[in-house]
């Protein structure tokens, strides 16, 4: 490349390393690639190998075929954790996303004042540490003398045994997740709604479509890609749920709120059964892939 020597001489250099255009991209991606190989590619491969190994009597790791995967299929604790996680998933995700959509539609209303205030307030829970939130909920939902049971008693209800009754323990964890994530999804929906041009609704109104019809016939179809994304995102997040189960309920009474993530933590870091923990992780990977593919298929077909 032609360089004017006069310009090069007068320009202070600040010691920037001079790279040719050919070499530069390799230097630029080098830090990312090195970190990626060491902390992503290596663990993914090693974990896969580990999932086919078991520890023999001498404490050495030996290949054992599909033994770990057979153990996984017969592991009632794993299926209990998976059942708990799926239960939280099928109850919580629809509630959370419907609520987020309702709030987004209300916040998008042209009659609403203080939109910025409401948006900020609903988004607030999403910025907090789950560790902190879990402990706050733990105190608010104490069986004896907890604030929520106190409010319920004013209404002539309860007291509810949040920590000892498996059902209410599951309700508690669902409430905590809904509180944390509804506003986040609402902000995503709101930005999608604001991208829909208003004249579409005007012509629909002229044609005599009611607000409700407009919502189901216009808004929902236009929002489909965003709804699909939030559904998959929430599903993946819920399947990996750990913090709430570990901190808020400690797995709950007779493991009623033990999630797959919390079970994996128990196997790996409390029992130090690393090979089997890797098998659980790969089992989770398969489940997440299958569910994502199903959701993509269903989401596409309804177009």
């Amino acid at each position: 490349m032609a360089r004017s020597p006069a310009v090069a001489a007068t320009r202070p250099r600040f010691g920037f390393p001079r790279l040719s255009r050919k070499v530069a991209p390799y230097v630029f991606i080098a830090p990312a690639v090195i970190l990626f190989l060491l902390f992503m590619v290596y663990p993914i491969i090693y974990s896969f190998i580990l999932s086919f190994q078991t520890q023999n009597d001498d404490g050495d790791l030996v290949f054992n075929g599909l033994a770990n995967y057979q153990r996984l299929l017969g592991d009632s604790k794993f299926f209990q954790a998976l059942g708990n996680t799926v239960l939280i998933l099928v109850v919580q995700v629809p509630i959370q996303l419907s609520l987020a959509m309702l709030l987004a539609v209300l916040l998008n209303s042209k009659y609403l004042r203080w939109r910025g205030f409401f948006r900020a307030v609903y988004f607030l829970p999403a910025i907090t540490a789950l560790a902190a939130v879990s402990i706050v909920f733990l105190i608010l939902f104490q069986d004896n003398n907890g604030f929520v049971n106190y409010v319920l008693s004013l209404l002539g209800l309860g007291p509810i045994s949040w920590s000892r009754d498996p059902f209410w323990n599951q309700v508690l964890i669902i409430l905590a997740i809904t509180w944390r994530w509804t506003g986040y999804n609402m902000v995503i929906y709101l930005s999608g709604l604001q991208g829909i041009p208003g004249d579409i609704y005007e012509s629909a109104s002229v044609d005599g479509a009611s607000r409700l019809t407009q919502f189901f016939r216009l808004t929902l179809p236009l929002m489909r890609p965003i709804i699909l994304f939030t559904t998959i995102f929430s599903t993946i997040g819920t399947l990996q749920l750990f913090d709430e189960s570990y901190l808020l309920t400690r797995g709950g009474p007779s493991d009623a709120t033990l999630t797959v993530g919390a079970y994996l933590y128990r196997v790996a870091f409390q029992r130090a059964d690393f090979p089997y923990a890797s098998t659980i992780a790969y089992g989770l990977l398969v489940i997440i892939l299958v569910l994502s593919i199903i959701q993509l298929r269903v989401g596409d077909r309804e177009v």
């Binding site: 990312a32 992503m40 290596y42 907090t128």
Partner: protein, 299 residues
């Protein structure tokens, strides 16, 4: 939202207007219901914060009193002193700040450099490497937990690292974020090539160009990504727990069921966790929201 009722056409036009018009009975009732609903939602969103900050100024017995005490108390300083003197909470605060700041700066550097290379250079293997990064976006993090943990312990570790309990054990594994690289690449693709070519003709080096031309233009994206990264790292619980590093979230977790610190003290700890992010949020709400939205288009 109110579903407008069908009104018989026999009614005079003026009376229809007072019932269904913009300021009619139905519309007004609808608006009252809307504000009521949004108000209740806002209360539910905010109350745990209020309760937490108030509880931080009380002792356990006040926190769990019936009816609850919802006015500020005078134990904040006592709670804070106990946290620092008895469980060394200042160490957790120090670690959390150091980790979040170093992680954010380093991760921005790694992501923007790689994003720049993928967006603006043609080089051998570029598609393959970028594709590999994207592919790992689909792999759930738990798959990497066991090998990463073993990588940090001297036992059975191919690289001879002994990092449990150290800051680099928390900082290094997540630095090369596929999401960050993807986001930087997407926004840098919009940069006009002429801008870079003009720089090259002026004799500007490739790295200098990245630093002086590209990064300043990318400031809004960088700000959103930096805030998102800082928040995620500040709030992160699982990995510091496994890597046995004392941060604010792991310290709070250790306080649960502790006999030394009561609920008032724990709420002081959680307040210290939430307060910095809350302040940044109030100051930089726009960047927070666009960080969240950037996360939503990563698919």
């Amino acid at each position: 939202m109110i579903n407008q009722p069908k009104v018989s056409s026999a009614l005079p036009a003026s009376s229809i207007k007072t019932v269904v018009g913009e300021n009619g009975l139905w519309a007004r009732t609808g608006r009252v219901l809307m504000y009521l609903f949004l108000g209740i939602g806002a209360f539910v969103s905010l109350f745990p914060f209020y309760f937490m900050f108030i509880a931080a100024t009380h002792t356990s017995s006040e926190v769990l009193r019936t009816p609850p005490n919802l006015l500020p108390g005078s134990y904040l300083f006592d709670n804070l002193t106990k946290l620092i003197k008895d469980v060394g909470f200042d160490q957790a605060i120090y670690n959390s700040i150091l980790i979040a700041v170093i992680f954010t700066v380093a991760s921005m550097t790694v992501s923007s450099l790689a994003g720049f290379a993928f967006a603006k250079y043609k080089f051998k293997g570029s598609n393959f490497v970028f594709g590999a990064f994207l592919l790992t976006l689909m792999i759930p993090a738990p798959v990497t937990y066991v090998p990463l943990f073993k990588l940090m312990t001297p036992d059975g570790n191919p690289f001879g690292l002994n990092w449990l309990g150290t800051l680099q054990a928390v900082i290094l594994p997540g630095l090369a974020s596929p999401f960050g690289i993807f986001l930087m690449r997407q926004s840098m693709r919009a940069l006009p090539d002429e801008l870079l070519d003009a720089g090259r003709i002026d004799g500007t080096g490739e790295f200098e160009m990245f630093w002086k031309i590209v990064l300043p233009v990318m400031r809004p994206t960088l700000a959103a990504l930096a805030i998102f990264t800082f928040m995620t790292q500040w709030n992160s619980f699982f990995w510091p727990l496994v890597a046995q590093v004392k941060t604010i979230p792991t310290a709070i977790s250790a306080l649960r069921g502790s006999s030394i610190i009561d609920y008032g003290g724990i709420m002081t700890g959680t307040s210290l966790s939430v307060l910095p992010i809350l302040i940044i949020f109030l100051l930089m709400q726009r960047e927070f929201i666009s960080g969240a939205l950037a996360g939503s288009v990563k698919g």
